[in-house]
Symmetry: C2
Subunit: 166 residues, 2 copies
């Protein structure tokens, strides 16, 4: 997935500020949420480069209604600041595992205006819980993997449990 690259880059950018399992300084959170770059209109290639995804994918996102993009006189896409910011947001949500269809729904709500704010908040809260759950799952799986590494073996469960007790 191209999005893996993005997170790698974000992690690389932010890595210096983030303790391995520590809490996040406010500055880091700002850099996670705010786009950081942007400023002037960009071509599809520039946006692709910035986000670490392919032009193909950007066109796909547009076709799915996730973002609206203008054209210049030659019919080429022009990503203005709003489009850029939205794509940064979308990309981050994708990274944390939010399905495209939920994002499409969210975007739809945004386009419907301010009265959908509560429903949008609900979506975010639900997503937050999903991410938290997933982190818990992975933490448990990690513990199991580390335990298996420690007591090795490499048994898939075929052999006898062997003499363990770490």
């Amino acid at each position: 997935m191209a999005t893996d690259d993005l997170m790698s880059r974000i992690l690389a950018d932010l890595g210096d500020f983030v303790e391995v399992d520590g809490t996040l300084p406010v500055e880091v959170i700002h850099r996670l949420v705010d786009s950081g770059e942007s400023g002037s209109p960009m071509s599809i290639a520039e946006v692709a480069q910035m986000l670490g995804l392919s032009a193909h994918t950007l066109r796909y996102y547009e076709s799915q209604g996730l973002v609206t993009v203008g054209r210049d006189s030659a019919g080429h896409r022009v990503y203005d600041t709003a489009a850029q910011r939205r794509l940064v947001f979308l990309t981050r949500m994708r990274l944390s595992g939010m399905p495209m269809r939920d994002l499409a729904h969210y975007v739809e709500l945004v386009e419907q205006g301010e009265e959908t704010v509560p429903e949008r908040l609900d979506l975010l809260l639900e997503h937050r819980d999903t991410v938290r759950r997933r982190i818990r799952e992975l933490t448990l799986s990690l513990a199991a993997t580390e335990y298996k590494i420690a007591t090795y073996g490499g048994r898939t469960g075929d052999e006898s449990p062997a003499t363990e007790t770490p």
Copy 2:
């Protein structure tokens, strides 16, 4: 995915022992690693029930060479303890995101005998790192999501950044 159910059940089973972000007591790790149940041969329905996946999926795993299963006189699958243990292992690895093709490789190594132990260990170590990375990613995304919830708005980046500073 059916595997989501499994983790739900594991979490439900273990939830009482696990602090939300705390460390894991040894007992919990044992329960994560050891199958807990098993004992006597099982039918496909029983195994499916135990693991929280469908009989279809179990047949699929077998067809992919992830596990070897015997038959009774009627041609029905009989999952012995070894098969059960292996499936528990496989299911857990799948849960933490290890691709089937890596598991297939791992299983192949197991079948090749003890001299592949170092390579198996490498696979596990690599997987551990992948899981750790993923947890880091999700933690950052979670922070971003929580920040967005806190400063709400629900902007996708379209509107002006608004007066924030939490």
